[in-house]
């Protein structure tokens, strides 16, 4: 399974190009994007374990569930089920693209902060994978003829905490970044599954329960 997912990741850079040729339609690239989100979910589980241990207790305790204060700039993955159902494909893909754009920037900032080389390697590897996912989503959007969202001014978050931003709040932000990332990957899997089925001949409807899962 893992090897299969790795293979998928390996072929990611080819996805936009494939779609530009326009030969096979968006179906295969949606499938690949879906597979990639599942792989990233798996990869994040390992990374989150390492990173939360680095943050130290109580962040690595399984029942630690602080309120989501601060970290307001992080894109929220949780959404009302009705609202999610009513999203059209373009909006759905745009939200995904924007969310991962932001999350990737935050994640790179996280990488710069990490104090150990091993952690930096893990984060860099994950960033590369996430970059791949972003490219994959862009490929799907291109295949469907949707324009890529323009980067809003100031969306490149400067991950340089000011003096008021304490280490503890920074850790909370890191915690929430990982948590949101997990929720986003979970949601994206649902999104791309839905898209995939939509592109295929009509199939049985899928009931989704969208909620945030703890680590």
């Amino acid at each position: 399974m893992l090897a299969c997912l790795c293979t998928v990741l390996w072929h990611l850079p080819a996805v936009p190009a494939l779609n530009r040729t326009g030969d096979p339609g968006p179906g295969p690239s949606i499938q690949k994007t879906y597979d990639l989100t599942r792989y990233l979910e798996h990869q994040l589980r390992s990374l989150a374990g390492t990173y939360l241990n680095y943050l130290g207790p109580p962040f690595n305790e399984p029942d630690f569930n602080p309120p989501r204060l601060g970290a307001e700039t992080l894109p929220r993955a949780t959404v009302n089920l009705e609202v999610w159902r009513s999203l059209n494909d373009k909006l759905r893909l745009t939200q995904n693209y924007e969310a991962y754009s932001h999350l990737l920037c935050y994640l790179r900032g996280l990488n710069r902060q990490a104090a150990t080389a091993e952690l930096r390697r893990s984060l860099a590897h994950f960033c590369t994978s996430l970059q791949g996912l972003l490219g994959s989503i862009a490929g799907v959007m291109a295949a469907l003829g949707y324009p890529l969202p323009q980067p809003l001014p100031g969306t490149e978050p400067a991950w340089a905490p000011g003096p008021a931003h304490s280490d503890f709040l920074q850790k909370m932000d890191d915690f929430w970044l990982l948590k949101e990332l997990q929720t986003w990957l979970w949601r994206s899997a649902k999104d791309f599954n839905r898209l995939k089925k939509k592109m295929q001949p009509p199939a049985a409807s899928v009931t989704l329960h969208l909620e945030a899962h703890g680590f």
Binding site: Y54, F59, A115
Partner: protein, 1123 residues
Amino acid sequence: MSESRVAEFGFFTKDRTACFRLTAPHTAMGAYSWWKEPSWMVDSKRRRMTPNWPWLLSALTLLQVNAVQAHSLKRGSAQDLKCTTKNMQVWDCTWTAPVGVSPGTVKEVCIKDRLNSCHRLESTNIKIAALSPGDHEVAINYLNGFQSKFTLNENDVSLIPDTPESLDLSADFSTSTLHLRWNDRGSAFPYPCNATWEIKVLQNPSMELVKLVSFNTTLSGRDIVHHWNWTSDLPLQCATHSVGIRWYIDYNRFSGYKVWSDWSPLKNVSWTPNSETNVFPQDKVILAGSDITFCCVSQTKVLSGQIGKTFCPLIHLYGENVAIHIRNISVSENSGTNVVFTTEDNVYGTVVFAGYPPDIPQKLNCETHDFKEIICSWNPGRPTGLVGPRNTDYTLSESISGKSVPFKRFETLTNESYRLAFQMLPGQEIHNFTLTGRNPLGHAESAVFINITERVAPHVPVSLRVKDISSTVVTLSWHLPGNFAKINLLCQVEICKASSEREVRNATIKGAEESSYLVAVDKLNPYTLYTFRVRCSTETFWKWSKWSNEKRHLTTEAIPSRGPDTWREWSSDGKNLIIYWKPLPINEANGKILSYNVSCSSNEETQSLSEILDPQHRAEIQLEKSDYIISVVAKNSAGSSPPSKIASMEIPNDDIIVEQAVGMGKRIFLSWHPDPNMTCDYVIKWCNSSRSEPCLMDWIKVPSNSTKTVIESDQFQPGVRYNFYLYGCTNQGYQLLRSIIGYIEELAPIVAPNFTVEDTSADSILVKWEDIPVEELRGFLRGYLFYFQKGERDTPKTRTFETGHSDIKLKNITDISQKTLRIADLQGKTSYHLVLRAYTHGGLGPEKSMFVVTKENSVGLIIAILIPVAVAVIVGVVTSILCYRKREWIKETFYPDIPNPENCKALQFQKSICEGSSALKTLEMNPCTPNNVEVLESRSIVPKIEDTEIISPVAERPGESSEADPENHVVVSYCPPIIEEEIANPAADEVGGTSQVVYIDVQSMYQPQAKPEEEQGIDPGVVAAYKPQMRLPINSAVEDFAAAEDEADKTAGYRPQANVNTWNLVSPDSPRSTDSNSEIVSFGSPCSINSRQFLIPPKDEDSPKSNGGGWSFTNFFQNKPND
């Protein structure tokens, strides 16, 4: 005033309790230590009191002062006069109007000393200029004429300075530090005088005293602003802090009382909460092992506080604010230690970084590889536990040049990675380096002072090249990066031959800048593969560089250093001379030998053979048997070797004896006497003795001054005979000196000597044998072993000879020339087993055996036949004579005359009665002469025994009982009782087959019946067989029934003697059977009346006890009783 003191005392007591509870003890102790220092006590004796009671003493002192004042001022008209001063220049005096006098009716106050100066006034207080020391009389006049008089002295005046005014109180919340600033207003006081300050810090809202300090300053006549900093254990954010200050002045020229000023108004410091941060201190870096208090500002109830995984008890401050106190905090993990307070709806926290200040950098070492930069390395020592932005920053500074280089790493490195490069300045050799490590907890430094020319560790030499100069000299060149222009390099060249011997040569080279270096290496061997490598240091040695890469090089060829080792042999027919030579060793060949040139020269001619290519080391020349000098030259690509020469002819030597030698291992030792005639050398050649001529395996040359050598060759094999020939070399040629046969190791012969019997007589054998061939002897023959013993072929005993066996005779024949052996003293017509074995020092060879029968001794044989024949004849004659003389007795005994019954009258008389019963006819002969008379009473129930000595059992046959009833019939028998019985054949018992035998119980004639009682119990139904010694079982003994049953089982079948034990006792095998005195002699077997032979009881396979139970004549004729 005294009340206020008491109030302060009480406050302080309360504060001490709060301190203990809230903060670490040293805070309170700090306050006390400050407390001891000020010298504000009036009474010097009280200073010696313990500091634990200062406030109490202060209060008491003031009470006493008041009392004294009252007492002194009442000396006039007994009314109080109190004077104080703020600056010792103006005294402020008040008094109480006498009883009945209104305070407003004061008229004037007159002080006598001052020229009776009087001050008009209408109140009871007055400010007067300070009076000179000494008593002054003060008179107060009232309007009503009343006058009060006082004596006023400076000693009675109290110096109470103005309340100090603090200029500024500020707080650094990040460090929880308070800063206080105030003016001492020293310009208002005479100077110099000492001022003692006391500052208190109160924690709101409960106004707990958390800090009280005192310290001294000196007033210098100017206004000076003082500072005081204090760091709170509890973060300032978590509680409002208030600060007050007071003082007193100690001026030694003022003899009055010195009293504290009032406390200044309290100034507060408080923190304005923001929404983000609620836990303090934030992101603090502290020394591991220290104590720290964290507090949380919260509007809601705080449920828990924890550091890391550990929950701590909450200390409630005020409102919902809480704190936790951590003692001996441990070193943090990489991201710091989290401190978290949890409320019902939120989580607040902070991160603390506990670690250590940098350790002193250890093993600081600075050196240069190339004179371009100096590399300093060090070991950081104990880890600080701080990483990331709090990691230790190092700075390497050089004090002479004033340059410094920073070292900043984000993460913790391995110890080997702490290195810094310092760019060298041209011309500077002396360097004074200081390495400083700094982190938020402190700094540490280490210094090193070096002359860089003495700290050179060059880079690895690269581009190593080898160039041939000659066959023994090469030059090595290599490149060494770096600027070594000012120093000399010391380099080492390692020369390694293929044979793994290593040689290191040192070379000192003048250094240069970015240059290649060249060194000549001589004394090499031609045509030899060398491996070179180089390393360098400087003359002032510090470190070697690493070895360069290895470079392999083959030196060029040179001419062979000598001619090959040569020998010659004449062919077997003597017509050809075969010339042998050995290939030159590689160190003498100096190259690859391509070919050899062989030439032979005599006085007349020189004959050269064509060139012989290398692998061939042999040449054959057809020569006359005359003196030739053979010359052999080896050639390689560099040239020809000097010729090696050998004469074709040997100098004859007739005085040669063959000697023997034995070696050890693969070597053999030979020695000889020195011969002064031998001028060149000795040659020892050897060959396998079994080979045909010309035989040459190998040869060696030994210098002429040697007298011994050890010959060693892998070709030598144990058990093989070799011939060794020692030749001496003279100017005329070689001469054979000794001939030696030898073995490297002797082995046992592999064959036995082939021997034959030459002659055999009745008592001797002559044996002859042959030599064993040399190849099979495998050693020097040392003798033969000859064994012989009696024995026949195929008898196991004779198959092997065991030493020590008494029958074996052994002869050791050590005379190896003996080839025959006569064995004497043998027995005639006897088979002998002969064995012959040869032996060497290697052991015994195999045996060869032979069986020989000696010839017959005829006389003995004749005697052996005649004597038994004669004895047999004599015995026969004597027996015949005896039988003839005793013939009557024999006849009566064995063949008595049987009377004719028809002649018996008794028969006729009873004929009618006895008719039909032939038995009765025989038995009842009246006129018979009885040879034995037995009275038998046959009864059906219990036979009555009339005579216990002679009993004749009665045979009862059920089948006949009806026909001839023997009851009450007394018969006098004339012959031994006849017993008839149906013998149950054990095998045929089941089929019911029976055979009738008539027995005579001979035992009953001589033996009284034994054990009648025992036999009574046998059930006749069970024992169907005949029981000659049994009575009929009339009375069955119940108690013996079980035993009888067993007995019956065992005795099923015929038992002539029921008691088998008696059979056993008289077994012929038994020792007792030969006992003639035995009373229980049993004849065992009954005899047949018909055959008149004693019968052997049938063999009972199943009952071994009865086996051979009968003793009989047949035993006489049988050697094996059990056969």
